[in-house]
């Protein structure tokens, strides 16, 4: 753990994940600042950005001081020089699902953020082209939300599993 990133992460509640993973839980407004300072401190590549909907699974392990919200943005950073990964999980309330966009820090997250917007409806402030990427343009609703019916065509010999 290079001392630069220790200093940056000191103020942020952390948690040790499975195996060697390390997870940080910044607040929504400190999120973009933390990511850009992390990039300068050695995390050259943003491997993955995805969203999770915790509607039907509220009781998840969170470090104290972090209120569980419905949505969560999970960012995986990868440091090539230190051969290390860091996961950042940001809570996003259901009432106002807006998060700062990471486009200015990592231009590679543009498509991932568009996918999170398309499938979950989480908007990214400052994103250059926030339109649907996977679903057709005129599709209503965000399919990966837990309360979105799974569009299953009833099969003859199987009872219809209601939306979970």
């Amino acid at each position: 753990m290079s001392d630069a990133s220790i200093g940056i992460l000191s103020g942020v509640p952390q948690q040790a994940g499975i195996g060697v993973d390390q997870i940080a839980f910044p607040s929504r407004d400190g999120y973009q600042g933390l990511v850009s300072s992390l990039r300068d401190s050695g995390f050259e590549l943003c491997a993955d950005l995805c969203a999770v909907d915790y509607l039907t699974h509220p009781g998840r392990r969170l470090p104290d001081g972090i209120g569980p919200e419905r949505f969560e943005i999970v960012v995986n950073l990868l440091s090539l020089s230190q051969k290390r990964r860091l996961r950042i999980r940001v809570q996003v309330p259901e009432a106002e699902p807006v998060v700062d966009s990471l486009f200015d820090v990592y231009p590679g997250t543009e498509a991932m953020e568009r996918e999170a917007f398309d499938l979950f409806g989480i908007r990214f402030a400052g994103h250059p082209d926030l339109t649907r990427i996977l679903m057709p343009e005129d599709w209503e609703g965000h399919p990966l939300r837990k309360d979105f019916g799974d569009g299953r065509v009833p099969v003859q010999f199987k009872e219809i599993p209601g939306p979970r």
């Binding site: 994940g17 499975i18 590549l45 699974h57 543009e110 991932m112 499938l119």
Partner: protein, 456 residues
């Protein structure tokens, strides 16, 4: 379908980004040579990405770009196109034959696999995941199984680890051979298509012999491997290794000997290291720019720690480098397969823990307990402790990651697959800018996107 009129009538939820009027350092999209553009601009790449609603194909005069000569036309290199490797659609802004800006429109193969993954138990999960990247399905199964095993906190027996590495390396050789075939076909050498697929058939028959199916096999499962290697597998693999290695030099002479092939690949679609890192590109694309990042070497998983192989790195980051890297990686994988054959440990190929591995069929008729285990695993599936994990492996296209959140039940609560092609596609506008339309064909095939993994 959103036709032109109702496009304006329905309130645009998102206001149109003002990129068109903002003065970028390239002026009004003027064609300045790249070295004048500062890195910041390149990183942002608003210069090369065409940000338009993907619905109708617009007339350039309607999108108020202040171009002095409105001679640019926007055309569709659409979903049904011979050289877009599946159902990728590119909206290209062309000035004559020169590509100015591109928008890659995806989603034409969106199968909602992450949603289906939430309805399948961990035992069935691999069948869903294996259909994402259909050129290297065993890598998908491996990353899903490793993520599940990390959540369960179980260790896979050594023979299963070595069998998994062997099958994944064979799959990598098959995927790179398919890439050599389609890349040759795109650049006009149909004989390369026939040769590439002929070699790949040998690997397919070996997969069919071992797993029962040519691909989409569901062979690598949480807890080990579905079946042991068939007898006589040793000389099958030796035949494959000798033939493919000998013929890879033939492909080299066939392709690099041709001036047409060299003209269409050298200097075309070049990428620099900081652009690649900024865009999150991994795999042969990143290595072609000179960054020696290969997860099998830097973060070894499975049996890669004990194998001796080279990481191949390019110099110019153009199409020719990527071709040379993939050709050399075929030979590296064969070198690894030869080591795997010698040191293959014996022992059981699946974890003996009855909670995770169903008992062999024979024992069900005799012992009641085996029947109960069998019934519980196949109907309800084994329960995975609550938690979340992200594991990543090196698939032929880059870093393939699997993020699973489990809520303690027997079905993953959220299963997200980080597709390398999905991220690598973002460097297309950057690579196509300023090149000819025929170069666009060569660049798309050298980025090697697999649409099943892009659209998930």
């Amino acid at each position: 379908m959103s036709s032109m009129e109702n496009h304006e009538s329905e309130p645009r939820a998102i206001e149109r980004p003002a990129w068109s009027t903002r003065e970028t350092s390239e002026g009004a999209q003027g064609l300045f040579p790249r070295r004048i553009t500062e890195p910041g601009e390149i990183g942002r790449e608003s210069g090369a990405v065409l940000r338009l609603p993907e619905g109708p194909v617009l007339d350039p005069s309607q999108i108020d770009i202040d171009r002095p000569d409105d001679e640019t036309m926007i055309i569709n290199m659409g979903p049904q196109h011979p050289s877009t490797h599946g159902v990728l659609r590119l909206m290209l802004e062309l000035d004559g034959e020169v590509v100015l800006r591109t928008k890659s429109v995806i989603g034409y193969l969106h199968t909602g696999m992450e949603r289906t993954g939430e309805d399948l138990t961990y035992v069935q999960g691999a069948t869903n995941v294996t259909r994402m990247d259909y050129l290297s399905p065993l890598h998908n199964e491996l990353v899903f199984s490793m993520a599940t095993e990390a959540l369960l906190g179980i260790e896979v027996p050594p023979r299963a680890v070595w069998i998994r590495t062997l099958m994944c390396e064979l799959n990598r050789v098959g995927s790179h051979l398919m890439w050599m075939a389609t890349n040759g076909m795109d650049l006009g050498s149909t004989s390369m298509m026939i040769y590439g697929l002929r070699e790949r058939e040998m690997i397919m028959t070996f997969f069919e012999k071992t797993t029962g199916l040519r691909f989409n096999t569901n062979y690598i499962r949480p807890g080990g491997v579905a079946a042991d290697l068939p007898d006589g597998w040793l000389d099958d693999i030796e035949v494959i290794c000798d033939t493919v290695e000998a013929r890879s030099f033939e492909y080299d002479d066939l392709l690099t000997g041709q001036p047409i092939f060299r003209e269409r690949t050298e200097g075309v679609g070049s990428l620099t290291a900081e652009e690649a890192l900024a865009l999150g590109v991994t795999g042969p694309l990143l290595r072609s720019t000179g960054v020696p990042w290969d997860l099998r070497r830097t973060m070894p998983y499975m049996a890669y720690g004990e194998l001796d192989f080279d990481v191949i790195v390019g110099t110019y980051g153009d199409n020719f480098d990527r071709y040379a890297i993939r050709l050399a990686e075929i030979r590296e994988s064969i070198k690894m397969i030869r080591q795997l054959i010698e040191k293959m440990p014996s022992g059981d190929y699946r974890l003996q823990d009855p909670k995770v591995t169903p008992p062999p069929r024979g024992r069900i008729d005799t012992s009641m307990e085996a029947l109960i285990h069998h019934f519980k695993i196949f109907t309800e599936g084994f329960k995975v402790p609550e938690g979340e994990v992200y594991t990543a492996i090196e698939s032929p296209r880059g870093e393939l990651g699997c993020y699973i959140v489990s809520d303690g039940s027997s079905k993953p609560y959220r299963m997200h697959i980080r597709g390398p092609s999905f991220v690598n596609l973002q460097c297309l506008p950057l690579l196509l800018r300023g090149g000819l339309l025929s170069d666009a064909v060569a660049v798309i095939s050298s980025v090697d996107p697999v649409m099943g993994e892009v659209d998930r």
